[in-house]
């Protein structure tokens, strides 16, 4: 293992740079140094002008997603040792989002999409807190638990070719979030989320490339979620046809 590694960072300063250009930094190599720690080293010791997001350092806050050698990954959960043999790695802001500066992507679109799927519980009859909890067996919890692990890091959007083509697509994390609530035994809000799922921007836009699940740092498997959403959407479509045939109102 050589004692340093070349990190090439795509720099972009709005108003100053026409387009991102790579800048090289040489960082001392140690086996347990993460890409995030390397960025902190660069900022403290080499170039304080470098801009990137970070906070928790433990892969739970979702701030530090960047493209690492072309792959969307968390900086805090990727280690330099992986690139030691090649002696270099390349960083740029998450794909499929506008670049705000350096490694900082503009994720507003993603935030909007989260809101679109109405990610909150809806109860047909509101139970007062004094009456205690909604019972939910471990098996019922298990049905949605995996889909509730999303840290909103946005890596799956950077991986999603459909979102890249047209960012009106709600995308993997938002559609997964919808499913998370739809599968929750306490929730009665599926019907209200169906419009978003069925819309042009909803589940049908997904072509099941599956790259979103590959890059997910929390094993949420959004591709599976989106495709279960398609099943739900189909059933919903069928039910609506049936209701229409019976002269009932569309839900």
């Amino acid at each position: 293992m050589s004692d340093s590694i070349a990190i090439y960072v795509a720099r972009y300063r709005p108003g100053q740079d026409e387009a991102p250009t790579e800048q090289r930094y040489d960082v001392p190599l140690s086996t347990d140094l993460s890409v995030l720690e390397a960025l902190n080293y660069i900022k403290d010791e080499l170039d304080p002008t470098l801009a990137y997001r970070w906070s928790c350092r433990m892969a739970i806050c979702g701030s530090c997603g960047v493209m690492i050698d072309g792959e969307p990954r968390l900086g805090c959960k990727t280690f330099l040792r992986e690139f030691a043999d090649r002696g270099e790695l390349h960083l740029r802001a998450l794909d499929n989002f506008p670049v705000e500066r350096d490694l900082i992507a503009d994720v507003e679109r993603f935030m909007d999409h989260l809101e679109t799927v109405k990610p909150w519980t809806v109860h047909n009859s509101e139970r007062p807190v004094s009456e205690g909890e909604y019972r939910q067996t471990p098996a019922e919890l298990e049905r949605y638990q995996q889909f509730s692990q999303c840290i909103n890091c946005g890596l799956c959007y950077a991986a999603c070719p459909q979102f890249g083509r047209d960012d009106s697509f709600l995308g993997p994390a938002a559609l997964t979030l919808a499913l998370r609530y739809n599968l929750d035994s306490r929730d009665d809000g599926s019907a209200g989320r169906m419009a978003a799922l069925n819309a042009d921007e909803g589940v049908w836009r997904c072509t099941f490339v599956g790259y979103c699940s590959e890059v997910c740092p929390k094993d949420v498997d959004p591709a599976q979620a989106v495709n279960r959403g398609k099943v739900a959407s189909t059933i919903n479509y069928g039910l609506n046809l049936l209701r229409l045939a019976r002269g009932e109102h569309d839900t």
């Binding site: 347990d32 906070s55 928790c56 433990m58 739970i60 806050c61 909150w120 519980t121 909890e133 306490r186």
Partner: protein, 598 residues
Amino acid sequence: MRQERADIVIIGGGGAGLRAAIAAAEADPSLDIALVSKVYPMRSHTVAAEGGCAGVVQDHDSLAHHFDDTVSGGDWLCDQDVVDYFVRHATEENLRLEHWGCPWSRRPDGRVNVRAFGGMKIERTWFAADKTGFHILHTLFQTSLKFPSIRRYDELFCTDLLVADGQCGGVQGIHMATGETVALLAPAVIIATGGAARVYRYNTNGGIVTGDGMAMAYRQGVPLRDMEFVQYHPTGLPGSGILITEAARGEGGVLTNSEGYRYLQDYGLGPETPLGAPQNKTMELGPRDKVSQAFWHESQAGRTLSSPRGEAVNLDLRHLGEARINERLPFIRELARTYIDVDPVHEAIPVRPTAHYTMGGIQTDGRTATVMPGLFAVGECASVGLHGANRLGSNSLAELSVFGRVAGEEAAALARSGSTPPEAALLGEARDNAARWEALRGARGTERLADLRNAMAEAMEEGVGIQRMPGAMEKTAATLRELRERYGHLRLEDDSLAFNTEWLSAIELGFLLDVAQAMTAAALARRESRGSHQRPEDYPTRDDAGYLKHSLAHYRRADAPEVAWQDVNITRSRPGERLYGGAARAKADADAKEEAEP
């Protein structure tokens, strides 16, 4: 400078800020609520809380037990009226989170499950595996999205409170994407910016936990209370300080020293409990202050292990087995494997105490009001009087909901009736502040930001750590004074406006230095040992005659902070001896006997 108005401004989008926003929106949907954060709310550090959230649920438990555990755990420095309110409302707030969709772990019958936690006599810690904070935060964030009256200002970095005639009338910040100054005026302001453990070199906290709100209030004359009480969490990963939850011990994990010995039995927490049969308030389920202090003594005695990342003891979970670890502690397994290449199913995790939580904060009353009209504070940034000299694990997540709701309701009531101070004065102040921050952005002195930050963090570990020695404390105070001076000669390299994170870090360092000075001054002033504040060399015992009091640090600009004192509210629990393990059980038996045959 952009000017905007709201009815309520909340600074901070973590658990406390979100809960306050929802409470205010529910109290009065016509109120315009501005939720301001320097990050997207679900990045807030609530996200990293792991083990759980307290609230009495079991039939054989009682509010009195939760009260007693909290007050004795806090070494009698808790305000007992506040603890009473807290224990009475914790469970309903946990239930409300349940109704909002929080995926609490369950018992086979579908009821919410609870686990054992340090210093708690009976299991009352609700949990969502070992990502409780993460799930609470996301539940609150997602629930907040259904309220159209909550308007978010994401990535707006607050720099100052706007105050005129002694009344708070808004906040000022920097829009991070553009560098533009924003003045946000409102008759009610809630600070919910979290803690400040980033003043230490080794800590469990995210990079954003820099005491911003504490410093903003402090600079405006609002005292910081009980700042000397800083919690070292007994089990962080050496080097990084990444948190390994207390739930690891709640589930039965044990701590051993370099001789494989369960050393906690030597520090008033024994007798040793059998493997796989943890006993409440005993051994590894002792309170955090005592468990961290035991590490210090083991270290002095040379009985710690040397790991590649520094001194450590072993946290052994192997006897729990893979299935239980995967069910109850999946995140711990992921963290240990990722960050130190240890699989806790097969190997013990090396751990050491790391700075974790600020018990003190912005002084408030039991309704979250500060001494400044118009200003509230809640959560870790505040000192509502709940934690005293040592917080019990899982009380702080419950605090976010219990007092977050109070803050939201109080602010809503004030916003409906209150008036903003004269606008011209507020805006004038904002312009002056903006000029000062502009000057900082162009700072071309000689001092490097990273050097000052590192020197501060090292000094805090040296002087205001687990055990505080008089010489080291004085030295830290002097170092901080010197750093404050050097801060005036910073050199920043980046003069751009868009996402100038060097500039923002420099502002954060200013906040950190103020908070560090308050901590150090209060630690020097408290001439006793209590809870997390230990002075083994000069004042090794608790002194109720002199210091059964809250410290109040007042900002004095270039001078050292001035420390004043405030009485503790004591209702029904007179200060006594903190007993754990066998000693606590012997006392309980004796008390029961006395009651039976007086």
